[in-house]
Structure formats: structure tokens, C-alpha cells
Symmetry: C2
Subunit: 344 residues, 2 copies
């Protein structure tokens, strides 16, 4: 029967403790705990029992140093609070789950210098791979990533040149597509409402694509309004009110994300404005949240789950055909017309 163990509270346990408690060498304990190499059933049992009894937790720091292998994948994203990255994380976790790899999240708050230090910090732990949002990074960041010697996957966006691999959609094209759909539905006085953030490159690209497509139709933005910080839903309301007051003849509002779009929708409904007759509305992302709105907001899903999945597959070396790196995967977002664009 297991003897009562009085663990010395000051010292943390090592392999040696387990090896002494079970009467075998440290190496054998190591083998048992990692399920590697041949160990007889009897020995395995004794070792496991001892480890359990002592409450031994292996020291991965030492293990990683010795084996030169770290089962961590760094995931670097701009923000946790905007509903888009949690889903990406889900995709990543799903795939990594059964590879022995573990995601570690770092947040940059859309600050390039913060991104730089997060990258540095992550690389200093020698992860098996890095997944990071966006293609725009400081020069120093790019250099670090290129030197890192591990797979790097840049996600969300493919309008640009990745350091290594990329998985995402073309935001430029997404903007274009939305503009085309809006114009095709007969809207002509179109306004843009979006975020101020200078480092939200993807929103900027969508806007650029959007304006480009409008220009091709001989149109230009009738108005624009920006915000930063605060409750997105509330900001959506406020901006919508501002635009409609300032430019009463505007007939479409294109929002840079679904959350402010939802705020705008609620405002219009409050005011009894005919949607999509008097004004049409569209957002971007396809967040689940929208399902519960009084009316379904037109949007474009950003393939977030798939992006996470594919990125993780590249890191885990699970992509078919042994493609090693330098892969660029473009996903195609689909327009969800909802109920806020006139049917043609």
C-alpha cells in the first residue's frame, strides 16, 4: 500500500525523486512519463504509481532544453475583445488538440511596437511555430520572423507578401464585392462608417477595395465617419445618427464591422427608418451575434474558423502533399445579403 508521503514543501519535485521512490533510474522514469521506448509493464506501473503518489509534475523547461523541442505554438493577435479572434482560436485549438501542440496567445492591441515585443518574447521560448494576424509588421519584426527557423503563418489577410505562409481572404476584394452588390441593388449615395485605427490594415483594405469598385461605377463615397474606442454598438448608433443628419440623402451605410453595423441597424429601426427601402446597411465579419438581431444585417463572413484550422494545419505539418512552407491559401468569403439590402 502507498506509504503516506510528506512532501518537502520548499523543494519542487524532480525526476530523481520519482526515480528514488520507485527504485529505477531517472531515465526509465522519463521514458515512462513520455511513453517512449520500451519499459516493462511492472516497472511502468511502479513508476506511475510513485509519480502519482508524489504529485510529480514534469519540468517542461528542462525537457524542452534537453530535447530541443517545444510543443508550443505562438498565436499573436491584435485584440481579444472583438468577437473575431475567439473563433479563429477555436479553429486553431481544434486542429492542434490532437497533435500534442499547444497554442499560446499574445495580444498586441494593434500596436506595431507591442507586436514587435510580443514576437520577440514568443520566439525567445523557441515555439514550434508562429501564427500571427496580418501581413504588416515592422522591419525588425519581419527580420525576426524570417530568422526564426520555424514555420510562420500570417492569417486573415492575403493582400501582400507573407514572410512564410499565409491563410486568409482578400479584404480588398471583399470590399469590392460588397460595393458591387450595393450598386447592383440600386443604391447610389453611399457612406462609409468605420474605425479610426491606423493599424487596422484589413479595414483599410476593405475600404480601398470598396471605393475602387465605386469609382469603376462612376461613384464616390457620399460621406464617411470614423470612431475609435468605446462600445461599438453605441458608436454605431451615434455615427449613424451623425451621418444621416449631416447627409440626409445618403441611401446606404457600409460599416467596417458587424458590431457598429448592428448599432446602426438598431438606430434606424428605432427611428422608424425604412430599411432597406430608405437606407440599406451592410457590415463585415459574419458574427454569430447578428443572428439575434431584429433584422439580419447584410455582411460578409471572414472564414474565421477555416483560417484558424488551416493555419494550425500548416504549423502541425498536416497539410496534404508535404508542402513545407511558403504556401498562400486564399479563402473566399461569401456575401450574406440578409434583410438590409434591397432585393434586385
Amino acid at each position: 500500500m502507498a506509504k503516506p508521503v510528506v512532501p518537502d514543501p520548499r523543494r519542487t519535485l524532480t525526476l530523481r525523486d520519482v526515480s528514488e521512490a520507485s527504485g529505477v533510474s531517472e531515465m526509465t522514469v522519463s521514458r515512462v512519463l513520455r511513453n517512449r521506448g520500451d519499459v516493462s509493464d511492472g516497472t511502468r506501473e511502479r513508476v506511475l504509481e510513485a509519480a502519482r503518489r508524489l504529485g510529480y509534475v514534469p519540468n517542461k523547461i528542462a525537457g524542452a532544453l534537453a530535447s530541443q523541442r517545444v510543443n508550443l505554438v505562438g498565436v499573436i493577435i491584435p485584440s481579444l475583445s472583438n468577437m473575431v479572434f475567439p473563433e479563429v482560436m477555436t479553429g486553431i485549438s481544434d486542429v492542434l488538440e490532437d497533435t500534442g501542440l499547444q497554442p499560446v496567445v499574445g495580444v498586441t492591441n494593434y500596436l506595431p511596437e507591442r507586436e514587435e515585443s510580443v514576437i520577440y518574447e514568443m520566439l525567445s521560448w523557441r515555439p514550434s511555430g508562429l501564427i500571427l494576424a496580418g501581413l504588416e509588421h515592422s522591419e525588425a519584426s519581419q527580420a525576426m520572423l524570417a530568422q526564426a527557423g520555424v514555420p510562420v503563418v500570417e492569417i486573415m489577410d492575403i493582400d501582400g507578401t507573407p514572410v512564410d505562409s499565409a491563410v486568409g481572404i482578400s479584404h480588398r476584394r471583399a470590399g469590392r464585392q460588397m460595393a458591387e452588390a450595393i450598386v447592383a441593388a440600386g443604391y447610389r449615395r453611399i457612406a462609409f462608417l468605420g474605425t479610426q485605427m491606423p493599424n487596422d490594415h484589413r479595414a483599410k483594405k476593405r475600404l480601398a477595395g470598396f471605393e475602387e469598385a465605386l469609382a469603376r461605377e462612376g461613384l464616390q463615397l457620399a460621406d464617411r465617419e470614423f470612431y475609435s474606442g468605446g462600445s461599438a454598438l453605441l458608436k454605431g448608433r451615434e455615427m449613424t445618427e451623425a451621418v444621416l443628419k449631416r447627409s440626409p440623402d445618403v441611401d446606404f451605410l457600409y460599416y467596417s464591422n458587424d458590431m457598429i453595423g448592428a448599432g446602426g441597424l438598431l438606430y434606424c429601426l428605432d427611428q422608424g427608418i425604412d430599411v432597406p427601402g430608405r437606407v440599406g446597411l451592410a457590415g463585415f465579419n459574419g458574427v454569430e451575434l447578428l443572428d439575434g438581431l431584429p433584422r439580419r444585417l447584410a455582411t460578409m463572413d471572414a472564414c474565421r474558423l477555416d483560417i484558424g484550422r488551416l493555419a494550425a494545419e500548416i504549423i502541425a505539418g498536416k497539410r496534404p502533399d508535404g508542402i513545407v512552407g511558403g504556401e498562400i491559401i486564399e479563402l473566399t468569403p461569401t456575401l450574406q445579403p440578409g434583410d438590409t439590402i434591397r432585393k434586385v
Copy 2:
């Protein structure tokens, strides 16, 4: 002038490379890079220049093993996607920022066995501390935490016995308080709408406190409805419809979180139901999202930012008076009556 460096792409750089490139010992390089000990300005310059030129990134694995110090704080939470934890994370990051400590997030999806393995995984990296949501953990988890030899802070909840320290609110009391306010406002036929999850202990405690306070007034729940999964906003709508159809005489709906509460609110407004006259509504959390709703939902803020801050301060040893551990900090949530409870 800096010689062009042709880094061997197969081998990752070590201190030795920098030491050779700058003509000093590894130890001196180590000192420069960590800003520790006395190094002459000239040497410091040369070392930094060499490190920069080579693109050297220190190996924290080796550093941590040698120094027995890891600047990581594990943060274990049930989910990223419910708006409550991002704010906790913000509080944690704020405080940790200037302590040299770095948060590392792990997600359990409300699964105890998953929590167990996340704890194990985290402890195997020998972090400087652990912050985890909730007081309910498997026996094995508790044992690991108790043995870990690092500060452990359990957050969000204080109705129970923490392993070490705890920072949170009393959900039982929060539920009671809300019930009292509702009854005081004159509502009598009260329904509860909430999550199904057996492991959302905090929601359960709120409900328990709620029912307890009702009982004290000689009341009991008129109806209840549960959901799991899916878009919370949509579920809020559906559940509200179901309850109001099934129990037309219900005059108050208490939701276990703001998101489903918002869905319920939108439903009622759609249906032209008089809120708060015909039915009153209340949620829980005080999420920012609510600011943009057509009407402000009654709720109770959960002090998420402060919880994060205080937890991080405990880990960082920043708490006043040198309290070392075993601290229990109870925060007091405030009722935000909004516009969905009748004024008395």
C-alpha cells in the same frame, strides 16, 4: 562598419555566437542582455551591436532553467467568447505590464477534465503564478494547485474555499440582491432564463441566491428555461418567446447573462410588449455591449476589470502590507437598474 553576416540558417544562435562576435565572454553578454551587473559602456555597446546585427534572440528556456525563474503567469479561463474574460484579461495585462511578468492564457471550455490538463500543462512550465476562474476544481486539480509552490489566485467567485487566494464577488449575494430589487419594484410572477451548462457554477450560484431571496418573500419562480450553445442573442429571443407563450402571466424575466437578456429585450420591443410595465427584464454582467441597446437593460456589473487587476497584483506581490497569500478579496457589484425595471 558592421561586417555582413551570413547567418547559418540551420543553427539557431546562442550566447556563444554573440560572445565571439563581440570578443567578450558569454557571461558578459548575458549581463548586458539582462541589464544586470556592471558592464562598461564600451563593452555594452559592442555587445548590443553584435546581438542586433546577428538577430540574436535569447533562449528563455535555458535562462529559466538556469535561473529557476519564469516570468510567466498562467491564466486559466473557461471561454474566450463570452465578453466577460477579455475584460478580466485587460485588467491582468495592465498590472503585469510593468512587472516583467507575462500572462499566458489557457481555455477550458467549462470542462473539468480539460481544466485539469491545462493546469498540469501550465504547471509543467513552472510559472510564477496561476490565476484561474472559479473555486470548483477536480480533486486532482486542487492537489496540483496546492503543491505547486506558487501563488494561486482563484477569480470571479468567492462563495467557497480557495486553494490560496481569491478575488471576486459573491454570486449568491448578487442573485439575492437582484431578486430583492425586483420584488421591491412590485413584480411577482418571475421567471429565470439561463444557461444549461452544469459547470457554470457561478450562474448556478446566482440562481440559488435568487430563489433563496424569492422564497424569503414567499415567492417562487413562475417558470424557467434553459439553453446551451448557439448565438446567445438569438437564444435569448427564442427562450423569451417560449416563456411568454407558456406562461403569459409572467411579469419579470431574469436572465443569467446580459447577452441573452439583450435578445429578450429585442424580442419584447419587436412584439410591442411594454417594458418595464408589462414585463421587467434583468441580466448579469454589465457588458459594454448593452450601451448601444434601444433601452438599457437592468444588470449587475461583475467588477471584471478590478478582479483582473487585483489578481495580478497578488501574483506580482504588489498588494500592500506584504500580505503573502491566502487573501480573500470580495468586491461589491452594483445594481444598474437601467430602464427595464419599474421605478418604485
